[in-house]
Subunit: 347 residues, 2 copies
């Protein structure tokens, strides 16, 4: 066997433009002959990033066959499931099929292990052989195919005590509750925009835990159903039924329940554009905003804060935080109601 | 006189789409009859945002008449100098021509005061009557025209002891050194990408002041001239001549001068796209990145960090920080060499 050695960052797979990293590349090499520091995975399911899947479903007018065609088309064009409209990816689960000899002893995996990749599909070489099932409501696609994990690629071994679809759904947004845990202090007033969604629900739970009895956690959703659920789960001090793209309406609603003090921390978890200004107006001076949404526009946030004279710290949602996978899976073991909800929605 | 009362945020000026704030609007009303809580300004100069002006100059192939035509075209189309390609604006200087009666006693201005607006041109109603001079190297355009400042609009009175073009050049990027002052701790290793540019030079100065003798300040520029200047000014411990769009080259260069420890803080001040990954790879685990560049892509930053497993805090550059105008002007009074350089470049 005479394998080639690849870059730890996967630059050897970049086809165009040359000289960039795989995430920035338009097209990467998705041939499944591994380099000596790569891991080959037999893929069973893709979890598409929420902003990306929303865009694909919209383009397909909700038609499953058309969704499949769009997903296949992206992978055929780019060698990866990297949505050219939203710029975002997602993650996958599968089974370790082969481990490059240069990695033996350097990683804790063996052939046959079930893993989820924790790096974005936007940089992961992927080949789809068959799309077997599309779960329109769960942002999930079951496939037969293969993928490559680079030497620096993060992964999590799937736990025995948690259903794999559930684990995948949680791991996909594992960064959000981990970052919430770092941001929220006891007594804080926290607004979670999109608090009824997947990452939003985890952030609501973690925010209430950190803010404590003296804190105030406010969930925001345009949907009555989401607001009712937020109240039923018990972590929301207030559930505001407001469209966050209406910045002034959101500001007024938050002002009303906080006596004009506004939020210490705003966590933005919605997968639609034009919610930057609502986030900024809902935050107090010297407060913090965490943008977890991939639909966030950098310039809208930067210029928006300046435009209304808001001295706020705005943080780019980092999908990775040290230990985030274990942290997020731990939430399911910690809260029976969180686990029950996620089992209903994602299993 | 029977004036109408406007929204403090200027929403009464939005023409399309209705219901958004002026920054998010495609087109705003630039008629110069003021509402009772607006300020009318006779404009003498525009300072175009660096990313925007770079794009306009490139589209115009460096031709001054074509630059003027593009700038006039944007204002005619949108009622504001809001570059549709980059999404960014800039700022202006002028003289107070009229103050709405509802603001009398609420602001410290009087008719005839020279001011600079500290809110972006991307939300400021503007009418251009004449373009009298274009300074291609200074991102400045001298005009005759008028503009409107909303009730929440920030401004700075121009000081007597500093040339107005110099003040404008500094105020345009006043947020950068103010944020640097907050971020950098004694002993930190700081990388300033674009350290030879306007905001970059201010960040280099402030970073060295904060990091101190035990700290290490590293400037990055692709240009030999910039690197030489950074060394001559004396605030750079290292000046690296590297193209920051080459992420791997930047990582290797920073690794070499930091013995592989990488930066505690990276401040990105370059006005070109595709430098997110270089910023991420130059930062240590648990380090911070401040993106001041309007050319930053939110998804490239978020997915880039996740893709290489970097647990870094990435902050969206906020052009506003409390007291930033006085802070930035103070730097010119504090450092003779900073003032001399800026007088050479911008007066």
């Amino acid at each position: 066997m005479n394998m080639k050695h690849g870059s730890p960052y996967g630059t050897h797979r970049v086809l165009e433009p040359l000289g960039v990293l795989p995430q920035g590349a338009w097209k990467i090499d998705n041939s499944m002959e591994i380099y000596d520091n790569e891991i080959l995975i037999d893929v069973s399911a893709l979890n598409i990033d929420s902003a990306s899947f929303t865009q694909i479903k919209s383009e397909a007018h909700g038609d499953e066959a058309k969704v499949a065609e769009i997903v296949r088309g992206i992978v055929a064009q780019r060698g990866k499931q990297h949505n050219p409209v939203t710029g975002s990816g997602g993650m996958l689960i599968g089974t370790v099929a082969q481990i490059g000899p240069a990695l033996v002893g350097k990683c804790d995996l063996k052939v046959g292990d079930k893993i989820a990749t924790l790096v974005s599909l936007s940089l992961t070489p992927l080949r789809i052989d068959e799309i077997s099932k599309i779960h329109l409501q769960k942002d999930q696609i079951e496939i037969n195919g293969q993928a490559i994990l680079f030497e620096t690629g993060l992964y999590a071994k799937l736990p025995d005590d948690i259903d794999e679809k559930l684990a995948l759904a949680i791991l996909d947004v594992a960064g959000a509750p981990a970052q919430t845990a770092r941001l929220v202090q006891p007594g804080d007033t926290v607004v979670v925009i999109g608090g009824g969604g997947k990452s939003g629900t985890l952030c609501m739970y973690e925010a209430k835990k950190r803010a404590g009895a003296d804190g105030c956690v406010i969930g925001v959703s345009p949907f009555e159903k989401d607001c009712r659920r937020m109240k039923d789960l018990g972590w929301a001090d207030h559930a505001l039924q407001v469209d966050a793209t209406n910045a002034l309406a959101l500001m007024e609603a938050v002002a009303e329940v906080t006596d004009g003090k506004m939020a210490d921390v705003v966590i933005n978890c919605v997968n639609i554009p034009n919610t930057e200004m609502g986030s900024i107006l809902a935050t107090r001076q010297q407060g913090k905003i965490y943008f977890f949404s991939m639909a966030t526009s950098f310039t809208a946030a930067a210029l928006g804060a300046e435009g209304v004279g808001k001295d706020v710290e705005m943080i780019v949602g980092n999908g990775y935080a040290t230990g985030h996978a274990e942290f997020a899976l731990g939430l399911l073991r910690e809260s029976a109601s969180l686990r029950k909800l996620f089992e209903q929605l994602y299993v």
